[in-house]
């Protein structure tokens, strides 16, 4: 089953969110709650978590990209 990783709603209101760094690689096993990416916005660093156990199947955004709330940035294969 494919599970989408999205930019969390609580980052809403920020003018610009940037994907700073992936904390995992494609093919890595992750557990629910693991931090998988760092995003930065107006004076706020936000860590995006895996919503479920699985394996990182693909990235849909690159480090340095501007991303939006709700945007799918990666897929986990559960």
């Amino acid at each position: 089953m494919k599970i989408e990783i999205t930019v969390p709603e609580f980052a809403e209101g920020a003018k610009s969110i940037k994907l700073r760094q992936w904390l995992v690689g494609v093919g890595d096993a992750v557990r629910e709650g693991d931090e998988i990416a760092e995003a930065t916005t107006d004076k706020i660093a936000v860590y995006i978590e895996a919503p479920a156990d699985g394996t990182v199947a693909m990235f849909l955004a690159q480090e340095g990209d501007t991303i939006e709330v709700g945007q799918v940035i990666a897929i986990i294969e559960a």
Binding site: F10, G13, K18, G33, T40, K43
Partner: protein
Amino acid sequence: MFRDPSLFGRKGRLMKECIHWLDLGLIGYDEAFSLQRRLHEGCWKGTHGDAVLFQENQPVITLGRSGREEHLLWTPERLEAAGIEVREVGRGGDVTYHGLGQIVISPILHFRRYVSTALDYLRALEETVIRLLAGYGLAAGRIEGKTGVWAGGLKVAAAGVAVSHGITMHGLAVNIRPDMEHFSAIVPCGLRGMGVTSLKLLGRGDLSYARVRDDWLAAFESVFGLSAVEWDPKTAPAGTYTPTGKG
């Protein structure tokens, strides 16, 4: 109790949260950061509830997640001669100076218990300092497009937070009476041409660290609609309580 609807939006709350506060006193940045991370983890794992840490640091310049080295203006030799260390930290924002005469306030909170978004949280933190200064008869506010709290066009408090597992880290640094010369080592928060000030320079040189801490707690309780009690050393997480903390 007044609550600014623009800060609290749809998050109405029926009961007051009760959280703990802990004053680490004068402490090295690395040690304090390690304690903060440990408390953050404890908060996430449910070992304890939300908390606020206070500290005063030996001189250190921190580079946030968007920090750029060109915003560091002194050479490594000059920084070393002045006793200022440099650290990269996991919070938003650019370059920040911490040192003696400044109170660093780090709420470790499930912030969505109080506000809806991380940006609302940042604005609410700024509001605590605006109210703190209002209590001292000082007019302060925000500047559109910039973070922190400003008085007379100068920054009196820096703000920068990190959110992990829905729990915050880092927070505020309020200038009480720091060595202002040290700020010339950086472009504060990457904002070239924007100066900094302190409570002392604003005419309140009489204020102590403990007084500012206690008054800020009152403003924090009011803005966030919670109550904060000092962590009893018997129940504080092991290794975090320092009896030498300023009281």
